[in-house]
Symmetry: C2
Subunit: 345 residues, 2 copies
Amino acid sequence: MNTLADLLGVELPIIQAPMAGVQDTALALAVAAAGGLGSLPAAMLDPAGLEDALTTLSRHTDLPININFFCHTPIAVQPDIPEAWQNRLAPYYSEYGVTVAQTKGSRAPFGQELAEVIVRHAPRVVSFHFGLPEQDLLDRILATGAKVLSSATSVAEALWLEQRGVSAIIAQGYEAGGHRGMFLSNDLSSQLGTFALLPQVVAAVRIPVIAAGGIADAAGVAAACRLGASGVQVGTSFLRTPEATTSEIHRRALADLSAPTAVTNVFSGRPARGIVNRAIRELGPISDLAPPFPTAGNALQPLRRAAEAQGNGDFSPLWSGQNRSGCSAEPAADIVARLAEGLQM
Amino acid sequence: MNTLADLLGVELPIIQAPMAGVQDTALALAVAAAGGLGSLPAAMLDPAGLEDALTTLSRHTDLPININFFCHTPIAVQPDIPEAWQNRLAPYYSEYGVTVAQTKGSRAPFGQELAEVIVRHAPRVVSFHFGLPEQDLLDRILATGAKVLSSATSVAEALWLEQRGVSAIIAQGYEAGGHRGMFLSNDLSSQLGTFALLPQVVAAVRIPVIAAGGIADAAGVAAACRLGASGVQVGTSFLRTPEATTSEIHRRALADLSAPTAVTNVFSGRPARGIVNRAIRELGPISDLAPPFPTAGNALQPLRRAAEAQGNGDFSPLWSGQNRSGCSAEPAADIVARLAEGLQM
């Protein structure tokens, strides 16, 4: 396991999954201080916001923090909300007495401006979701000496990433919460569980593999190591920590261990796993009407706000993996310490 | 691990998954002789066929063999093939020059007649898929002293089974090949990967839990043990053994490790995982038109026969789990021995 920790410059090969919308620098710093690799989700930051966040991080720590970006193909022009999607949502607008409000998509893909901020700050670890950015952008990041990580949901994606020079691969099993990193295929029916994906990726590539999806405690870490993982990435277990910015509604939903999750596209246009709520149940889980990423959620915003004002999460993305058994309200450092016990098992 | 082995009366807590259509007594006997628990799928046997099989088994071994039944709710009257399904298949009938032939559904649920055969032979292990039979039938089986197993795909199903007196629970993760044992829900979107299902079932019940889904080698067995499994059930890895009756077309498909699998209902009417072929790709994976279990496949039979006569498996159910890395053409005993190494890791 030391290979990956050395590569990333951390004490423990335990990565806190970057989770846009439910955390900022505080969680990343707490995990870093506990010996793991903290992560900052930059998918919802513009260059000025990224500049601020990186300045905050370097003011508080010399330890590596992983800066994470999405690299989907951007939509050239922000489209109007499609009529079919508006019609589908109309009864809910009536119910809540809200009107459709065109809002801006909030997830910009990694581009030149963000790359310049990264080159200036030179974080030691940069990770990507949905593949990798264009080669020239990737080369600029690699030239800073940063270790680059990305997620694979199939052996084919893992080989693609290895070929392009990433330092390690995150094997993201079907159990994982939030957005699925799939980028060579959009066929959800073939997505692999961690137990099947992890050993097949380990066998296929020569670089370290980080296990993600369903890992919630020391036993999960130990099991991932047995399947060949050099480290783990854990997200869900950190969602109720005091250092996360998870909403009270989301925290309450996470605390109900029996609530099922599903992979849905209704909140963003791309498949992502969250706790099944009214929006997933009635509009999805997968809807052909949902507009393309990242715009699908825009039309849900007025409903989300109205529902949350009533204290319910019927239209909120309640991101969660399939195993919430380690998702407690303890400090992040305690969760890192508990996961780390699995490295010795 | 010895608790489960003792309970089942075998040397190794390694169960060969019962696989209707691709094995008979030979595979069960080979696994038993190697120290594992061999299984006989009885889902496609009538009482006379079961009688024959049990007689064959007892002539060859004194070791326990697991006899497996389906316990779906039977269809009162064998329906005609629905018009919508016939219309959907019509272009394929034309292409292959075959005609729709009404054939009998070949999977009978466990009932009084089969129970009588079981009571007479008193096998030491009986397992069920899709829940459990009616209480009076279950009581008759339990009264023989047989250990009873059944599969759970959720914590709720595991608790339901424990309450009804099963001896151990098979936690069947999303990765598993063949029919999904789900019986309290038919919502595929919430099905759990082994990494998430197994530890949550282990935490919820007091009886031994057997891990199934994605386990293909010693490392997989070791990982399942770390997650709390008392034993494992492995199917896919035995499909290419000389003792299995798997067709050549199916064996060829299994040998291509890169071919994806999907959960489909087009072959039987119930969700089951197989290698993606033309039938799954073009008719499914999940079709609203597929007739109820077990009749959906009847209308595919003429296409399957015609395609197989041409040497292809376009309309054959090519059952497989998501991890074929341990699916080799070696004798079953060698596969059992390799899996058993994981018990010491």
